[in-house]
Amino acid sequence: MAVQASALVGAPVNDAPGLLGLSGFGFNRAQSITFLVMLLLVVAGPFFLYPVLLMKLLCFALFACAFNLLIGYVGLLSFGHAMFFGTGGYLAAHAAKVWGLTPELAILVGTAFGAALGAVAGWIAIRRQGIYFAMITLALAQMVYFFYLQAPFTGGEDGIQRVPRGALFGLIDLRADMALYWVVAVIFLAGFLFISRVVHSPFGQVLKAIRENEPRAISLGYRVDDYKLLAFTLSAALAALAGSAKAIVFGIATLTDVYWTMSGEVVLMTLLGGLGTVFGPVAGAAVIVLMQNQLAELGAWVTVIQGIIFVVCVLLFRAGIMGELGRLLKVRL
């Protein structure tokens, strides 16, 4: 769907160059500082909050960043990203439990399958525009959901349970939460920086040109569908990476992660945090995950509250948390 990344456009901003070599990821000064703050929070976090909660947060943050790569920088609204998140989870869980692979290999397997599914789903979907693109991704995700519901290896309604965390490279035991936390933190940070690099790469420059004026890009000889497909595949792979990590963290892969509500949740996180902003998806994921944790005893009401947040966002804070904050401080975040 053609969505303007409103946070990228508008009032003049202070775009001083980045710090500490972070400009290699396209960060300006404000973004470099925000990154360092985020780094600090990631490192200090487990000393203040439950590591498992934080790992969940980081997995969802990476998932939202992957989704944002597609909508914020290519302008494509996927309403089926749960299929990649869930595929990562199922495949990583299966690889770790049944094949007995070490966790890093299991996560790699999940990511690879997510990328492959992304290439196929993307190939089918990207030739459609606007709402049709969203509908096709949703339809494909439903098909994938029914596949996992029926497939013998997924355990149906029960999912794959008691997935061992194993030992990293077969050496470092990850059964302790703190040990696993650092692995997840590295995965999140690497994924986050990778996305920033993609956006500020020669390829990212072409994506920007396509989003700004697609007919002109075509007239310059760009086969634009190839670029959209690569972006879609990268986004799917990263979503699957997040899902794989989550399955290893919780030792379980279930239908929840491939269900359409999960696709909706990642849209909400990204919108809440700020579509097309660098840090918005992380902020949005943090708010939603922490809120779900606080309000867990309210049961179904959580969904209602999320719905209200969604409506408020759309009506009042269209640029999201980071978009509005950036507007206030006159910087890009």
Binding site: G24, F203, V206, R216, I218, L220, R223
Partner: protein, 257 residues
């Protein structure tokens, strides 16, 4: 005659309305060919057909010895047939320099490199600046393209197109809406860049057409009404009538010519 672009019976119907009707066009290699005609004559539709942005209802197109009728627009561009748009087509939130680099990147590689920093695109800066200098935009290199005045946007568009070193350029009303000064600049530019390539241009300003074009095709209601050099075409009574009947501003310029 060495024909670079030839169409045969080119026809485009929109829901029963025929916008382009049986056009057989022959553009000579190395020439500047003008396509003129009143508003709604089908000139832009012709450009869309030639560059494959539209699929013809009937007819065929040959470019540089190849049948391109069934090709996709990006493939046609890769063969060296590159168009501009009637409504100026720049990438507004890219800088002027980046606009040109996007074209260089396509022609010279690196457009799929997603793991590298975009700093590697600096390798194209020298060439991009040279192209900008060519169109008088080198002092504007770091402005956002969207902030340029209209005439400068058209110049940027031409620089971007030239970055692909096209065999043939299609320019859709390159001087429309420009001040006198800008028009002169564009005319000089087109004449210069036409060295060693072919240009097909839609143009309303008949003085520009007279000054630049070797051959002129007149289109009305989707059909070719006349073809020839400026002197021949402007003496054609049907052409005069067509212009008098539709656009007094142009027929004024016509009388002047």
């Amino acid at each position: 005659m060495d024909t670079i672009l030839a169409t045969e019976d080119l026809t485009k119907e929109f829901l029963g309305f025929t916008a382009v009707s049986g056009v057989s066009l022959n553009v000579r290699r190395g020439s500047i060919h003008g396509l003129i005609g009143p508003n709604g004559a089908g000139k832009t539709t012709c450009f869309n057909l030639l560059t494959k942005f539209l699929q013809p209802t009937r007819g065929s197109i040959r470019f540089d010895g190849r049948d391109i009728t069934g090709m996709k627009p990006a493939e046609v561009a890769r063969l060296g047939l590159v168009r501009s748009f009637q409504i100026s087509a720049v990438f507004p939130h890219l800088t002027v320099l980046e606009n040109v680099r996007v074209a260089l990147q396509r022609a010279r590689g690196r457009s799929f490199d997603f793991w590298r920093s975009d700093k590697v695109l600096g390798q194209y800066d020298a060439r991009a600046r040279a192209l900008l200098e060519d169109v008088g935009l080198h002092t504007h290199a770091h402005l956002l393209a969207g902030e340029l005045p209209y005439g400068r946007k058209r110049a940027l568009e031409i620089a971007t197109t030239l970055a692909l070193d096209p065999v043939m350029m299609l320019l859709d009303e390159p001087t429309a809406g420009m001040t006198h000064e800008d028009v002169d600049r564009i005319v000089a530019l087109v004449r210069r860049v036409a060295q060693g390539r072919t240009v097909l241009m839609v143009e309303h300003n008949l003085r520009v057409v007279e000054g630049l074009c070797d051959t002129i095709t007149v289109l009305t209601r989707g059909r070719v009404l006349a073809e020839g050099d400026y002197a021949g075409v402007s003496r054609n009574p049907e052409v005069v009538a067509a212009y008098l009947g539709t656009d007094p501003a142009i027929s004024g310029a016509q009388a002047h010519g």
